[in-house]
Every structure is written in structure tokens, then in C-alpha cells.
């Protein structure tokens, strides 16, 4: 009897003790990150999964170091996972950071990113010289940057891209426009609308529910019309959004709306839908990135299209949003960071970059591998000199202001706000954000 009672007494606390053990088991250190454990690479690129796995196998064959690419998609989920892993110091050896330069700065300041400047400069800077400079610059910090980050490069691009306008040659010809000379001016571009409507075709599609794509289009015109300096001065708070230059940029969207060129419901159109409409030859123009070449090839291999820069509104040169496509960073806290750097160096060498080009149709970050591209990709590669990227500005705009600007453009497109009213609203958000930051800085003595 006493033995039974003793067993019962033991059994009762054994249950919670077991649960505590289970809970605590997750709090321990991960198994040793050396030896035969694979180097882990986290990414979000669903279209490159097979190619990455093949490259991992090749790397192991060449160096006997196993590499495991781990896919986490969609990109929102990936971004959250990386943040959560950073907070728990559970980042893999190699990973990508999705977000703005401010986010990259935070990761660096928190000690999660290995500076790559010494590695890029090794051996007379051969690694650096092999890559497109603009793509490297997207993940580099200049001296005196507002994030207090040591100047230098921190990320390695594996491909480059920019965003331009795809046009369907057959549909353009059907509308009486020579597909060899697509519209290069704003007026000629808008004139296509009337003929498209008559032919019951959609003029222009893009995933403008995804605000960043809308923002790219707007920033192209802001820089084209106002110049880099004035845009940068706006971000720095020296030029208001109510400036005539910005109102002119916003007016372009009212003109687009009034022309009837835009697809119905473009403000809630995701890019996948826009890609389907263009691939199925329902739309004449699509504002899309270099990745579209691969997307359209898989959706409709017979699609006959060309690529053009956004049409000019002034005599100044046109620019296009672009730079590094996807980039990888090395975890500074990993004991295997040297191996991780070696793997990235190998991944960006010409043979591997050529393999990625062949399998995924993305423009390689390695310049030698990008020497003989298909005509479509070559059109994107040729425009690399005209690319701009928000990360290249010395000052970054605050996210709430960007959101107010992009949502304001949506308001113009649906006809509920004028460009002037939107400019005013954006300036109000800018003033509030500037004041909030100033209060924080003065209260806590931050620079």
C-alpha cells in the first residue's frame, strides 16, 4: 500500500516535471555548428529552389562542404522569420534581409551581419571587380550614413534587376503603332489608350496594390523631372512635398487615370494578376521587373514582346528603379562565417552565375556571366547604368511618409483626391514624422 502511494506521489509531480523538461529542451544551445553540419542558407526565392539545390550539390562535390538552402515563402513570412531568428540569435550562416536600408542598418548594428569589405578587397579586389558596382552599392553604407554603420559593403548580390515597361508587339501593331518604335514620350504613351479602348484591350497593367511597385514608378518620374538632388532634399526635409515638382509628378497619375490607359481596378491588382493579363495578351503594356522575362516565358513561351524605358516627360534622361535583385548576408555571429563567405564567393563566380542565368533567367550579378544575354535580358542589363535605388540616397524617407505618398497616389487613381490635396496630406505626415523623430532624439540625446 505504501509503495503504491509512493508511486502515486512520484507520478503526480512527474507530469509537470516532464513538461518543464520539454519546454526547457527548446532553450538549449543548438547542436555544434561545425563539422559535417551543412551551411544553412535562408531564402525566399521560390523560382530558384531547384537551381539552388543543384548548386549546393555541386559545392559539396567541389569542396566537401555541405550546404542546405532553406526556402521560406512568401516574402512577408520570410521577413518575419529572419527578424524572429535575429531576436533569438538563431540566424543561419547565410541569409537575406528584406526591407529598407534602415533594416539592414539595424541588423548590422545588432551584430548580425559580417562586414564584407575586407573579403571584397582581398587580392586586389578581384571579387568586387567581378560584380556589377551598382548592385554592390545597394547593400553598402557610405561614410557619415544616418544609421551610424561603419562604411563598406555588407551584402553580396546574386543577381541584378531593374523595372521597365514590357510591351506586346502584336497588340501594339494591332493598334497601329510600329512595334519597333514604341512610344518614348508621355503624350505618345497616353495616346495608345484611345486605340486600346476601341479594340477592347487593356492598356497598362502593373501590381499597384503592392505599394512598392507603384512607388518605383512614381520615383522614376520624380527623379526624371526633379533630379536626384531635389528628391534627396525632400527626404531630408529641405523641400516640401507641396513643391510644384512633386505636384507635377502626382499629376502624371491623374493624367494616366484620365487617359483610360490603366487596367480597371489597378489599385488592387497584385503583380501576379498583372503578369497573367500581360502573358495572356490581354494588356498592351506592363510595368514589371527583369524577373518578368522568366515569368512570361513560363506562362506563355510564344509571347512576342519588347522592353522599353518608362516614357519621358522632359528632355532629361529617364531613370529606372533597380540595382541588386537578391542579396545574401553572412551571419557575423556564426563560427563558420569564413566558410559562409567562401560559399558566397563561389556562388558569385562566373560558372555558377551562368547556371543561375540559364535556369532562372535572372541577370547575373557577375559581369562576365552577363556578357551574352538573351535580347530581353540584354535590354534590362543595358539599362543598369540608368538605374536608381532608394538605398543609394544619403537620406532615406520615413516609411509612414512613403505609405502616405503611395496611398495618396491610389487616391488620385480612383479619382477621390487631387494631386494638390495628396501633396498636402503627405507633407502633413512628413511634418508629424519629423517632429516625432526630433522629440525622440532630443529626449534621448541621439544624433
Amino acid at each position: 500500500m505504501s509503495l503504491l502511494r509512493a508511486r502515486a506521489c512520484l507520478r503526480v509531480p512527474a507530469v509537470p516535471a516532464f513538461l518543464v523538461l520539454i519546454l526547457l529542451a527548446g532553450c538549449g544551445k543548438s547542436p555544434s555548428a561545425t563539422g559535417s553540419h551543412p551551411l544553412r542558407v535562408w531564402h525566399w526565392m521560390t523560382d530558384r529552389e531547384e537551381a539552388f539545390d543543384e548548386l549546393a550539390a555541386r559545392y559539396q562535390q567541389a569542396t566537401s562542404t555541405p550546404v542546405r538552402f532553406e526556402l521560406y515563402a512568401p516574402s512577408d513570412v520570410y521577413a518575419q522569420k529572419v527578424r524572429a531568428a535575429a531576436q533569438t540569435e538563431g540566424l543561419p550562416e547565410v541569409y537575406g534581409i528584406l526591407g529598407e536600408l534602415r533594416d539592414v542598418g539595424s541588423f548590422i548594428q545588432a551584430g548580425h551581419v559580417e562586414p564584407l569589405e575586407p573579403y571584397l578587397s582581398e587580392g586586389g579586389g578581384a571579387w568586387r571587380a567581378a560584380l556589377f558596382p551598382k548592385a554592390l552599392a545597394v547593400n553598402a553604407f557610405s561614410r557619415g550614413n544616418p544609421y551610424g554603420v561603419e562604411p563598406g559593403a555588407y551584402g553580396v548580390p546574386i543577381d541584378v534587376m531593374n523595372i521597365q515597361i514590357f510591351y506586346n508587339k502584336k497588340l501594339l501593331a494591332q493598334l497601329g503603332v510600329d512595334p519597333q518604335t514604341p512610344p518614348t514620350t508621355w503624350e505618345a504613351f497616353l495616346q495608345v489608350a484611345e486605340r486600346a479602348k476601341a479594340e477592347r484591350l487593356i492598356g497598362f497593367v502593373s501590381g499597384w496594390a503592392e505599394l512598392w511597385l507603384l512607388d518605383c514608378f512614381a520615383q522614376n518620374y520624380a527623379i526624371h523631372e526633379m533630379g536626384m538632388k531635389r528628391v534627396e532634399d525632400t527626404f531630408a526635409g529641405k523641400v516640401p512635398y507641396t513643391d510644384p515638382g512633386w505636384i507635377s509628378v502626382l499629376r502624371r497619375f491623374a493624367e494616366l487615370r484620365d487617359s483610360g490607359l490603366l487596367a480597371s481596378g489597378i489599385v488592387t491588382m497584385v503583380n501576379k494578376q498583372a503578369e497573367q493579363l500581360f502573358a495572356n495578351e490581354r494588356a498592351v503594356f506592363a510595368f514589371n521587373g527583369a524577373w518578368g522575362v522568366n515569368v512570361y516565358r513560363s506562362m506563355n513561351p510564344d509571347l512576342d514582346y519588347g522592353i522599353m524605358m518608362p516614357p519621358k516627360t522632359t528632355s532629361r534622361p529617364m531613370v529606372t528603379w533597380g540595382g541588386a535583385g537578391s542579396s545574401f548576408f553572412v551571419n557575423a555571429r556564426s563560427p563558420r562565417k569564413a566558410e559562409a563567405v567562401a560559399f558566397l564567393r563561389w556562388l558569385t563566380e562566373e560558372p555558377q552565375q551562368r547556371y543561375l542565368l540559364e535556369t532562372t533567367q535572372n541577370i547575373p550579378a557577375n559581369r562576365a556571366a552577363a556578357s551574352d544575354l538573351s535580347p530581353h535580358l540584354a535590354a534590362f542589363a543595358d539599362a543598369m547604368d540608368a538605374t536608381v535605388h532608394p538605398r543609394l540616397f544619403a537620406v532615406q524617407e520615413a516609411s509612414p511618409v512613403i505609405e502616405a505618398f503611395d496611398k495618396g497616389i491610389q487616391s488620385i487613381l480612383i479619382g477621390e483626391a487631387t494631386p494638390e490635396a495628396v501633396a498636402q496630406q503627405v507633407q502633413e505626415v512628413k511634418a508629424r514624422e519629423t517632429s516625432r523623430r526630433a522629440q525622440l532624439e532630443s529626449a534621448h540625446g541621439r544624433p
Binding site: 502511494r5 502515486a8 506521489c9 503526480v12 509531480p13 507530469v15 509537470p16 513538461l19 518543464v20 519546454l23 512577408d76 521577413a79 518575419q80 527578424r83 535575429a86 531576436q87 526591407g99 529598407e100 534602415r102 533594416d103 539595424s106 541588423f107 548594428q109 545588432a110 551584430g111 548580425h112 487593356i202 496594390a209 503592392e210 487596367a263 480597371s264 481596378g265 489597378i266 489599385v267 488592387t268 491588382m269 497584385v270 494578376q273 493579363l277 490581354r282 520615413a398 516609411s399 509612414p400 505609405e403 496611398k407 495618396g408 491610389q410 487616391s411 487613381l413 480612383i414 477621390e416 483626391a417 508629424r432 516625432r436 522629440q439 525622440l440 529626449a443 534621448h444 541621439r446
Partner: protein
């Protein structure tokens, strides 16, 4: 006479696992949420800044869009509370009668709730599409072509279209609960009412409704809590657009957290949102107790 020590300890030992799990997965995260809401933190930086109640002041006094999103979620909730639940009740009453193929109806009515919100959103996104959507095609075929529009992209209709999709997806839950409630009402009560000469409306008004009231309140609470927290459907259909017309509190919290990288502010928004839902639920529970 005191109970043996083992017997006194045993009850506590039995609740300890649940208490432990509750502490680790509910109380501690809530404590962290509260703590983070007092910080200016981007979610990464090792040195967050303590800002006291500044985040709360900003939510309460300056964030006009957050409160607009509240109103929009309230509009969808109001429609769900009335139209969705009325439909659920009507269908439950219809199916509760001796119908041929009742099981088939039950299955059909309960199908939408078990579908993923993202899948439902994508299906309706195509139906309501302004370029080649079926809904516009049907309207045109019926000679109502002048009503066609991009339903989810038009500021006049976007929120109502989202509400419609939400109600279509959600009415099955209410239907099942109402049906379960109806089946607990004894037939004798209806027979007695019938003997007393009560017509269908009187039987519904004086027998069904009073006995179904606790179920109605439970369904209402679940509808309010579920609808105010609508998120995946918005992401799959409008992403909060056009402009801010279909933004709801959760999309704003999400935007603050991942869009703006303001984790502390997002936590403050979350706490304000949670407190308001708590108050609404408490009012409803109090009402339930009173009516009981």
C-alpha cells in the same frame, strides 16, 4: 483532521502543467507585449529606447488612419452581426425542419467556413475583378451592364464587397451553432404553443427566440471578435486598398510592425485594440447574464 500532505499537494500538481503552459504562452507574451509597447524599437536593434506612454498617446491622439480602420472593421462587423447571423438563423430554422436531404444542406452551408481565408479571398478576387470578373459578366448578361465596376477597387463598393465575402465565408459557423441550439428546444413546447393557437411567428417570437438567446449572444460575441480581427481576407483581396478604404486594425498593426519597423508602436496599437474588444465582450457578457 488534516488531509495527508500528498493529497493536499496533488490538486496543485495537477493544475501545474496547465498553469505553466498558460504562463509561458499567454501571460509572459502579454507581459512582453506590454513592455515593448513602451519602447521605440525596430524589432532588431539591441538598444531600444524607452518612450513611456508616447506610443499610446500617438495611437489615441494622432493616428487618424488607425481609428478609420476601426470604423471600417466596425462596419463589416455590423453587417456580419445583422445580415450574416440573420441568414444563418433562417437557414438553421429551415434545415431544422424535417427536410429531405437536410444533411446535404448542412454540409453545403458548412463548406465556406472550412475553406482557407486566402483561398476564399482569391476566388472572390477573380469573381469581382473589374476586367474579366464573372460578377460583371453576369450583370452585363442580365442587361445591368451600367452597374459593372471593379468592385474591390472602387472606393464606393470595396468595403461592402469585402464584407460580403466575409459574411459568405462566416455564416456557416453561426448556422451550426443556431442549429445545435434549435435542436435542444423540446418539441413539446411547440406542440403546447400550437394547441394554444400560436401561429408560426408567435412560436418563433415566444418559444424559439427566448430559448435561443444564450446561443444568439455567444454567436454575437464570436462574430464581433472574429470580424474585428479580419485580416487574411483583406490581404488576399484588397491589401487594405484602394487607398485606405479597406484597412482594418490588424492590417494597420501589421503595417506598423513590418512596414514601418515600429514594433513598440504596433504593440501599443495591439493593446488598445485588445482592450476595446475586451470591453465589448464584457458588455455582451453582462447583457447575457442579465437576460439569463
Amino acid at each position: 483532521m488534516a488531509a495527508p500532505r500528498g493529497r493536499r499537494v496533488a490538486p496543485y500538481a495537477f493544475i501545474l502543467p496547465a498553469l505553466l503552459l498558460f504562463t509561458v504562452f499567454s501571460i509572459y507574451p502579454f507581459y512582453l507585449l506590454l513592455q515593448t509597447s513602451l519602447l521605440d524599437w525596430d524589432g532588431i536593434s539591441p538598444s531600444p529606447t524607452f518612450v513611456g506612454l508616447r506610443n499610446y498617446l500617438e495611437v489615441l491622439a494622432q493616428d487618424r488612419i488607425f481609428w478609420t480602420s476601426f470604423g471600417q472593421a466596425g462596419y463589416v462587423t455590423l453587417l456580419a452581426l445583422t445580415l450574416q447571423n440573420a441568414l444563418a438563423l433562417l437557414l438553421a430554422i429551415a434545415v431544422n425542419r424535417e427536410l429531405r436531404g437536410g444533411t446535404i444542406y448542412r454540409t453545403i452551408f458548412f463548406l465556406p467556413p472550412i475553406l482557407s481565408e486566402i483561398v476564399v479571398g482569391l476566388i472572390w478576387f477573380w469573381i469581382f475583378d473589374g476586367n474579366f470578373g464573372i460578377f460583371n459578366e453576369v450583370l452585363t448578361a442580365m442587361g445591368l451592364g451600367h452597374f459593372t465596376r471593379p468592385w474591390l477597387a472602387d472606393p464606393q463598393t470595396a468595403l461592402s464587397a469585402v464584407a460580403m465575402i466575409h459574411m459568405w465565408k462566416g455564416f456557416g459557423w453561426g448556422f451550426v451553432m443556431f442549429l445545435a441550439g434549435l435542436q435542444t428546444i423540446p418539441d413539446e413546447l411547440y406542440e403546447a404553443a400550437r394547441v394554444d393557437g400560436a401561429n408560426a411567428w408567435y412560436r418563433f417570437r415566444h418559444v424559439t427566440l427566448p430559448l435561443l438567446l444564450p446561443v444568439c449572444i455567444t454567436v454575437s460575441i464570436l462574430t464581433i471578435l472574429g470580424t474585428m480581427q479580419i485580416f487574411a481576407l483583406i490581404i488576399a483581396t484588397t491589401q487594405g486598398g484602394p487607398a485606405f478604404h479597406t484597412e482594418v486594425p490588424i492590417t494597420r498593426i501589421f503595417a506598423s510592425m513590418l512596414g514601418s519597423g515600429r514594433f513598440g508602436y504596433a504593440c501599443a496599437q495591439g493593446i488598445v485594440f485588445g482592450l476595446i474588444l475586451l470591453v465589448v465582450s464584457l458588455i455582451q457578457l453582462r447583457f447575457q447574464r442579465k437576460t439569463a
